[in-house]
């Protein structure tokens, strides 16, 4: 209910710019849920996740923009983008099956950068991606002849496209949450958790670790590709700039901050890390109003606060803001065990 009227509250209360922020919040929630399948469920540290986002976005741009003169409908392009990303997920997963932890992180990081560099340079000899200039005039989503690209005028009010995209993104995000929750509590989810805990023991329990890891990569990448397609349609413009390493790390931070493996935590992390930087913009206005000039640039402050927040997290809530039951128990029980040992110590003294 609140989700349904949220854009109107934000729009009238804080201005239409905030509806746009809401749209991005939903996109990042979608990305974070996808990455959580790989990192949180299966325990495979992926630092190149944004590459799948890029693939989904570029496929959308190729199939629905003047670049190749193709204008396929979004309900066709979006699943294709998700599938392409899923395929690349398997392509990335296959050679990295034997790698874990740090080594896997380095290879995935390389993969993410390779995709971005490809996008940056594939304007010659054949202009595939239009290079650093990016691709423009991407078709907006249109459903049953109603284009999301133009604002709607009703009852003397104007609703910009951000409102329509909000509901579209919301639908996809809810779908993603549903799928992720169902997967977590299933035979597949248990197999992923087992691999995360101990890969050798998982294999000794009859789990095909190769297939399960590829499946995790593919599922995560599919969500990323979906988000990428939505992003391209929403922005109407994409360039390699949008898919740099920082974005990968940001999405990973959302998961870690919110609580790895736990969907509500992941959502909270995505919301906070998207909204807070936007809210910090007001600090600039505040400084102008009180000091008459901008003493500290909010953009710089953003990074500082970000760092402080992450360090504070590690100290005070190492399992995340909303940890999964498992992790909560794990961290809480460590204290419990210590207490018990102490109690035993007193017993023997008494």
């Amino acid at each position: 209910m609140l989700l349904a009227i949220l854009p109107f509250l934000m729009g009238f209360g804080l201005g239409n710019a905030w509806v746009r922020v809401l749209d991005f919040v939903l996109l990042y929630v979608l990305l974070a849920i996808g990455l959580n399948i790989v990192v949180g469920y299966a325990g495979l540290l992926d630092l190149g996740y944004i590459a799948f986002y890029a693939l989904g976005a570029y496929l959308y741009a190729w199939l629905a923009s003047p670049h190749f003169g193709l204008h396929l409908p979004f309900w066709l392009v979006l699943p294709l983008g998700a599938m392409l990303a899923g395929l690349f997920g398997v392509l990335l997963g296959a050679p990295t099956l034997r790698l874990r932890g740090d080594y896997l992180a380095i290879v995935t990081l390389g993969f993410g950068e390779i995709i971005r560099i490809f996008m940056n340079n594939l304007n010659a000899p054949f202009n595939l991606t239009n290079g650093p200039q990016g691709m423009n005039l991407i078709d907006p989503v249109s459903i049953a002849g109603f284009s999301f690209g133009k604002p709607l005028h009703v009852f003397g009010m104007t609703f910009p496209p951000t409102y329509f995209y909000y509901y579209l993104f919301l639908a996809f995000t809810l779908l993603a949450i549903f799928v992720a929750l169902r997967l977590q509590d299933s035979r597949i989810g248990r197999a992923w958790a087992a691999i995360r805990e101990d890969e050798i023991a998982a294999a000794a329990m009859g789990i095909n670790t190769r297939n399960m890891k590829l499946l995790a990569f593919a599922m995560g990448a599919t969500f990323g590709g979906l988000a990428g397609g939505l992003f391209a349609a929403f922005q109407g413009f994409i360039s390699p700039e949008s898919f740099n390493l920082w974005e990968s790390i940001l999405v990973l931070c959302m998961i870690v901050l919110g609580g790895m493996g736990n969907i509500p935590g992941v959502i909270l992390g995505a919301v906070l890390l998207t909204v807070i930087p936007e809210a910090l913009r007001y600090l600039g206005d505040l400084q102008r109003a009180t000091l008459g000039h901008v003493a500290v640039d909010p953009a710089d402050l953003r990074m500082l606060l970000f760092g402080v927040a992450l360090v504070a997290m590690m100290l005070f809530r190492p399992a995340g803001l909303l940890p999964s039951h498992q992790r909560k128990r794990e961290f809480a029980a460590e204290d419990g065990v210590a207490e018990q040992e102490q109690a035993n110590l007193y017993d023997t003294r008494a």
């Binding site: 169902r182 035979r187 197999a191 805990e197 023991a201 294999a203 000794a204 329990m205 009859g206």
Partner: protein, 262 residues
């Protein structure tokens, strides 16, 4: 007891570089027996386990379970054939609950895929309920009553050993290989474990046991093989192995013939 052969290990050799960890080891485990594998530290017992269960590839030799070759198969395929194992250094999924650990063991005997998990149709729900029920009854079977919600990593040491056995049993093995299942347990815990092994045998599971506790091995095992420096030096029933000169030499050191007693 039937005398049909269940596991045949023939001439298995495993080399790590120049080091021969196993040299032409052959075993023959019959269906329905408890087969003990003993030997001094570093004799190659665990290496043999790892070779049989697909964690190591064989340098040469063959392993057959009920006539079907196992060498070259992946660990998960071997489990599916009906050969489960536990580990010497307990390898539970420490941050999953005890019940979830056993439920993971049902993986090779259940089918739900991505679509089933997402749509959760009637078939998937029934399978999931079945997995849960079986996991619960297995926990009761090994004596872990009401511990399903405890994190596996927080169980007492002896309970972790039991849980590992329950988890292995969930895969419905014909042959269960236990790597030092009573190491570090006190005498009463050992006795309880011994009773569990007898119950398992009575239930139709063949056991292959690596153990250091000679008393337990001698009391439980129908037959025993002794490994030393990667070679099998003796095989037979417990009493005859105990009297075997080579075994005594391996454990206590040999006395050169005619050496003067000190």
């Amino acid at each position: 007891m039937s005398t049909a052969s269940l596991l045949q290990v023939s001439c298995v050799t495993k080399r790590f570089g120049g080091l021969a960890a196993l040299e032409e080891v052959s075993l023959d485990v019959r269906a329905g027996e408890i087969y003990g594998l003993i030997g001094p530290n570093g004799a190659g017992k665990t290496t043999l386990f790892n070779c049989m269960t697909g964690l190591y590839s064989l340098t040469s030799g063959a392993v057959k379970l009920a006539g079907a070759p196992l060498q070259g198969l992946k660990p998960h395929q071997i489990v599916k054939c009906g050969f489960a194992r536990t580990f010497q250094n307990i390898r539970l999924f420490a941050n999953m609950t005890a019940l979830e650990n056993v439920m993971v063991g049902r993986h090779p005997r259940s089918r739900a895929g991505i679509l089933g998990a997402v749509l959760r149709g009637r078939g998937t729900r029934a399978e999931e309920a079945d997995i849960r029920d079986q996991a619960r009854s297995l926990m009761d079977y090994v004596g872990l009553h009401n511990k399903g919600r405890t994190l596996a990593g927080h169980l007492a040491y002896g309970d972790q050993r039991r849980l590992e056995i329950a988890r292995a049993l969930a895969t419905e093995p014909k042959l269960l290989a236990l790597d030092e299942p009573v190491a570090g347990m006190n005498p009463s815990e050992r006795r309880q474990m011994g009773e569990l092994f007898l119950r398992l045998r009575a239930g139709g599971v063949t056991l292959l046991l690596i153990e250091h506790d000679v008393k337990l091995v001698m009391g439980l095992c129908d037959r025993v093989a002794v490994l030393d420096y990667g070679r099998k030096i003796a095989e037979g029933d417990a009493a005859s192995v105990q009297r075997d000169a080579a075994v005594i030499a391996a454990y206590l050191g040999s006395t050169p013939v005619g050496a003067a007693p000190t």
